[in-house]
């Protein structure tokens, strides 16, 4: 359990310069996720076309882990099908909770956020954006 596993360079970088950050125009489905314990909040916006995530953006305020996780997530699922995005959600969730070994090939850069598995107090920071993505996808499907 070391800090450098939690705060890998990719996490620090995405925290400093979050990708796909900002509120988009119309025609996006959105969902807001909050962590009542710490007050972190994230809103995820998705625009789907034919079962594919054509675009994704997010806004919010949170710690380095939750910000980097949202940023990495947005980069990872942009252009993926909804089914692929949901499969990735499930794997990230299980890997962050320590219920599955992180599959580096599937996760790519996203693997960095699985560093939280050694820090139980921070798991929710890492999964907040992903749960919110799932909700936004559900909203988009309605």
């Amino acid at each position: 359990m070391s800090l450098s596993e939690l705060y890998q360079d990719v996490i620090l970088d995405h925290n400093r310069r979050p990708r796909r950050y900002g509120q988009p125009g119309e025609n996006y489905a959105s969902a807001e996720g909050t962590n009542p314990l710490c007050g972190d909040s994230v809103t995820v916006f998705v625009r789907t076309e034919d079962d594919r995530i054509a675009d994704i953006r997010f806004v919010g305020s949170g710690c380095a882990i939750s910000t980097a996780s949202a940023s990495l997530m947005a980069e990872a699922v942009a252009g993926k099908t909804v089914a692929e995005a949901l499969a990735l959600f499930k794997h990230v969730h299980d890997a962050a909770m320590g219920a599955a070994e992180p599959d580096e090939a599937m996760l790519g850069e996203v693997a960095a956020i699985c560093g939280v598995r050694e820090f139980p107090a921070r798991v929710k920071c890492a999964t907040l954006a992903w749960h919110t993505l799932k909700e936004a996808i559900e909203v988009a499907g309605k």
Binding site: Y7, L12, N15, G39, I65, R122
Partner: protein
């Protein structure tokens, strides 16, 4: 003085010499004598109380009522004014539920922007049920109550003012005597949340004279699940029961039930008897240590921490410049409080990070929350040192 030499009186701290525990405002560690008092009560004098048919129950009742008398003496109140509850939160809910005369539409409940959620939400619930209105005294940039705004808010419709004695988020000591005096001029009652004051300073309720005063055992070096509502003896009898059950009644029949006089009226069911005994012992511990010494010690640590934090680049400290308690709330530019807490935790320093159950306050300051170091009587300058080193490590990591 930077060390009261009491760390070894706390078994958890003695067993974890590497731990710098700076979250006493959330919950204090327990001294051996409190743990011993509970163990002794369960092993030597335990039975249900107020069931006087046998000697053991009389002994247990004496211990419980003795704890009540001890707590009353500690606060300079009368035992019949002391109601045992689960904690400050339940005490506030009790008053909100059973407020003398009940709530009517248009009644005004005055709170402050620095209240803990426990001193906000019960009033909002009461207001929603009745049409009463919650009004909020603003906090100044330096973390004090805006007393002019407070004065302007008081009027004939003001029924209650509810205010923290010491703010859990800012460490501010509020001018409770003045607030009581001004509220009384318009015929309003005052509830003082003493959760953060009782553990760290001498509290004399005959001097402060609020209608209601609440605190929690677990923040006062006592057990969890026990707390106290002190209600003036001319106010409590005007209040209806909060919960119904055994031990709070005078006579029960299906034609009509009558209730005990306070405090028994508000203690339905078997209470946390051992908790009350443990809490009384915790107050002995505070008094033996000396409340003036505790206050001076915790402030000295807070002053040192505040000063050294401010010398670091990019650190903002909240709350009054003239330190008023052992609480230091701060933010480090570029480092979210949670990340700071994780880095500190890796170095054995336990702090609170987040909104500290005061979301409206942080909204006022335009930040989601803060990092908070709170000093207890067992802390020393070595803990301050570890805090500062940890903050610097976090700054290096996130630079």
């Amino acid at each position: 003085m930077s060390d009261l030499g009491l760390r070894d009186a706390f078994p958890l701290l003695a067993a974890r010499p590497e731990l710098h525990f700076l979250d006493t405002a959330a919950s204090a560690q327990k001294p051996r004598m409190v743990l011993e008092a509970e163990r002794e009560f369960y092993s030597e004098r335990y039975a249900n109380i107020h069931r006087g048919a046998y000697a053991l129950s009389v002994e247990a009742t004496d211990a419980y009522e003795g704890a009540r008398a001890r707590i009353a003496a500690f606060l300079n109140a009368s035992p019949r004014e002391v109601v045992f509850v689960r904690g400050a939160t339940e005490a506030i809910n009790l008053v909100a539920h059973s407020f003398p005369g009940g709530w009517r539409e248009g009644d005004e409940i005055v709170l402050t922007e620095m209240e803990h959620h426990a001193n906000i939400v019960p009033w909002q619930l009461a207001a929603q049920r009745s049409g009463a209105v919650v009004r909020v005294v603003p906090v100044t940039d330096e973390g004090r109550l805006d007393l002019d705004a407070f004065g302007a808010m008081l009027g004939p419709r003001t029924r209650l003012v509810a205010v923290a004695h010491v703010s859990n988020a800012l460490g501010t000591l509020n001018p409770v005597e003045e607030i009581v005096c001004r509220a009384r001029q318009v015929g309003a009652m005052v509830l003082v949340d003493g959760a953060q004051s009782v553990p760290g300073r001498k509290v004399d309720l005959a001097e402060l004279d609020p209608d209601f005063f609440v605190f929690s055992g677990h923040k006062t070096y006592g057990p969890t699940g026990i707390g106290v509502l002190v209600g003036r003896n001319d106010v409590l009898p005007k209040m209806p029961p909060y919960q119904g059950g055994g031990d709070m009644i005078a006579k029960v029949s299906f034609e009509g039930t009558t209730y005990k006089l306070p405090p028994g009226r508000f203690e339905a069911g078997t209470p946390n008897i051992a908790g009350a005994v443990g809490l009384a012992r915790a107050l002995d511990f505070l008094e033996e240590t000396g409340l003036d010494r505790i206050e001076a010690h915790e402030k000295a640590l807070a002053v040192e921490a505040r000063g050294r934090l401010l010398r670091l680049e990019g650190v903002t400290v909240y709350g009054p410049e003239d330190v008023q308690s052992g609480i230091v709330s701060f933010n480090v530019a570029g480092v979210h409080p949670h990340d700071l807490a994780t880095v500190l935790d890796q170095q054995g320093v336990a702090i609170r990070a987040g909104h500290h159950c005061c979301q409206p306050l942080w909204h006022r300051y335009g930040v989601p929350g803060s990092a908070r170091a709170s000093f207890g009587l067992y802390n020393t300058m070595a803990d301050v040192e570890a805090l500062i080193e940890g903050v610097q490590a976090a700054q290096r990591l996130f630079s």
